[in-house]
Subunit: 385 residues, 2 copies
């Protein structure tokens, strides 16, 4: 299953975990907006055992910035980004499900992306990478799933951008998804989210080190990526959480020094500033700027209604059996109305759908932080199907 | 009254209207955080006539980016930034009130600021301008009001940052404010607002043309100011308004050209992107980067509770007769809970206070856009006092 391993990504931003597998799934891969990839690799990681009837498959599509390492495994004992959710006896029980976490086409975590080598030029694609869409990511994932010999996905899970991919997948490959859990996602990008992502991309592109996409991989546009990430975090969390967590607390380095805006002044006076800096620096050091641009724009472009007469029409034709739609009231990026829309569309078809607004304070990121609440809902849903 | 006109601001970002007056109000002005200004000018503009008993004074403190030109006047017929609100027979009736709009200390619209010439060096202050606080702005305004021979402010109005100044003023000069209207403001900055402003300042400071504050006034850091303004606009408006206004509408320049991220690609695909660009470019061409940094940080630092045992304690001691507190449910920068806090604090003193949550879709900026709704509330309040 881990044959055909191709490692064609540039070292700097190749951040695949040791336990992930990279599989070549296609040649001359045709993309939605007209481009073609000569070769297509998809990175993935698995937990649990595939049963004989291949009826216990759980596929997880990730958000924009996640890698495939959702939780620790035999091969890689480091914690993953959703440890509390996936594992033996956890809500997504790896004793029952064969869990496959698939890295997005366009992400720097192993799948073909702007940091991959274009075999025609022997150089990284960078901005010659074709325009990317959510449908291309769904297609690439489907090619991997076919290659693994899997015909039906018993449970498809998609949070955030992963939910967009899951929606595209469900509509494009009707009848192959049996049950679905969609978390804090949307059928199309709304202007507030487009505005934030557009500004994030502009911030990256205006970093002088970005150099029109042809930056030195040893001197990448860290400032741009860091500031874009800070804006991301502002949109991923919630004002309420930050009041409770930080209030107006100051850092120990806080001083009155009449040098507030000196360029050498790297201290952050308020804890909220130091928190953003800390997390954004972690991100700038692992995520490739061009990959970020492509994935971000693909989210803006996504609109499920293109696949049918309307969004409701597209949703009502997926032939999914059971669906759980989870959203959070404090999410400003994927507001609760968008979760409700998905629920209503699925319910208009033959899908038995449930929709819950969870009372979490951490905004869009709640599914990553309040795993206790999300686990409870998901466990209850999975017990019922 | 318009004696002592000193024009000591650099030409490029000196954006005072022809009708505004600049008055020298102090020498050796001591600032809260330790700095001293050798000379202090304050710019202002007036409408209506001061009555014999000087009992019809209405002072308006502005938000961060506004100049003194609140509405057209005999001297300057161009429209102002709050035309619908101030004028003959309007909610703030210039047939009744003598309206004074005061430019903030630290703003590039005429008052002493980082673009003013430091007489000791004969150069603009730039980053040698002392650390600025809301209390310094209130003090500077009070010096102007004293110089104009006014002892009591019959009506003090402050929207947004102007409300912070008005709160500081009311607490620092107890008993001089008779009635107050506070709009979408706060007694202290909360972490969500600090996070946004901190990132705005970082974006400006990372513009290579900022040059540690010593930019060429003929080649200022326009990219940084423009992107900071876009982030401002994202926080000033609301997701709901943008859904209604823009949805996913595309501009006429929208094309699939496989050049999405080329640095020469200045087209904006979605109307929301083009809207932000249009307004942010207007701002980058009129507002000085260093002034922006100082005013922005002063908002973060503001905390009315420093003036007493607590915020409520400070508010309850202002000796204001009547107060109207207006907020908007869609405001994410100055949320409605902060308006309620002001109301409750004032009501605990002897102030007869009213609080209304207005049902406007335009977020923090609603007071500038939905003047019809705001006029109705203000007119009704002013009729009752």
């Amino acid at each position: 299953m881990n044959s055909n391993i191709n490692k064609k990504v540039v070292t700097v931003f190749k951040n695949t975990n040791s336990s992930s597998t990279i599989m070549s799934v296609a040649n001359n891969f045709q993309m939605k907006r007209g481009g073609v990839l000569a070769t297509l690799d998809v990175a993935y990681e698995t937990w649990g055992k595939l049963n004989d009837t291949k009826s216990n498959v759980c596929v997880i599509f990730t958000g924009l910035s996640a890698n495939t390492h959702i939780t620790s495994s035999d091969k890689d004992s480091t914690p993953g980004w959703w440890d509390g959710m996936v594992g033996p006896k956890k809500a997504i029980d790896t004793g029952k499900y064969y869990v496959i976490c698939i890295n997005s086409l366009g992400s720097c975590y192993g799948s073909t992306s702007p940091v991959s080598i274009n075999q025609k030029t022997s150089k990284p694609y960078r901005l010659t990478f074709p325009e990317l869409s959510m449908e291309d990511m769904a297609n690439a994932s489907n090619l991997l799933i076919q290659k693994l010999g899997i015909k039906k996905i018993n449970l498809l899970i998609g949070p955030s951008m992963g939910g967009m991919k899951a929606l595209a997948y469900s509509v494009m490959f009707k009848g192959t998804v049996e049950n679905i859990i969609l978390i804090s996602t949307s059928t199309q990008a709304l202007p507030f989210a487009i505005a934030i992502r557009s500004l994030q991309r502009e911030i990256i592109r205006k970093d002088p080190l970005w150099k029109s996409g042809y930056y030195d991989y040893n001197e990448p546009p860290l400032d741009g990526v860091r500031m874009a990430r800070k804006l991301g975090m502002i949109s991923y969390r919630s004002a309420l959480e930050w009041i409770q967590r930080f209030g107006r607390k100051k850092t120990s380095g806080s001083v009155i020094n009449q040098n507030t805006f000196g360029i050498d002044n790297t201290s952050f006076e308020y804890e909220i500033e130091s928190y953003l800096e800390h997390h954004a620096i972690k991100f700038q050091n692992v995520f490739d700027a061009n990959c970020y641009l492509y994935l971000s724009r693909a989210m803006d472009w996504f609109d499920l209604s293109e696949h049918a007469q309307s969004t409701v029409d597209a949703l009502s034709k997926t032939k999914i059996n059971r669906a759980l739609i989870l959203g959070v009231g404090t999410d400003i990026l994927f507001p609760i109305e968008q979760q409700k829309e998905i629920y209503e569309g699925l319910a208009q078809g033959n899908t038995k759908a449930e929709f819950k607004t969870l009372n979490c304070s951490q905004g869009h990121d709640s599914f990553l932080v309040d795993t206790e609440t999300f686990s409870r809902e998901i466990k209850s849903f999975l017990t019922s199907i």
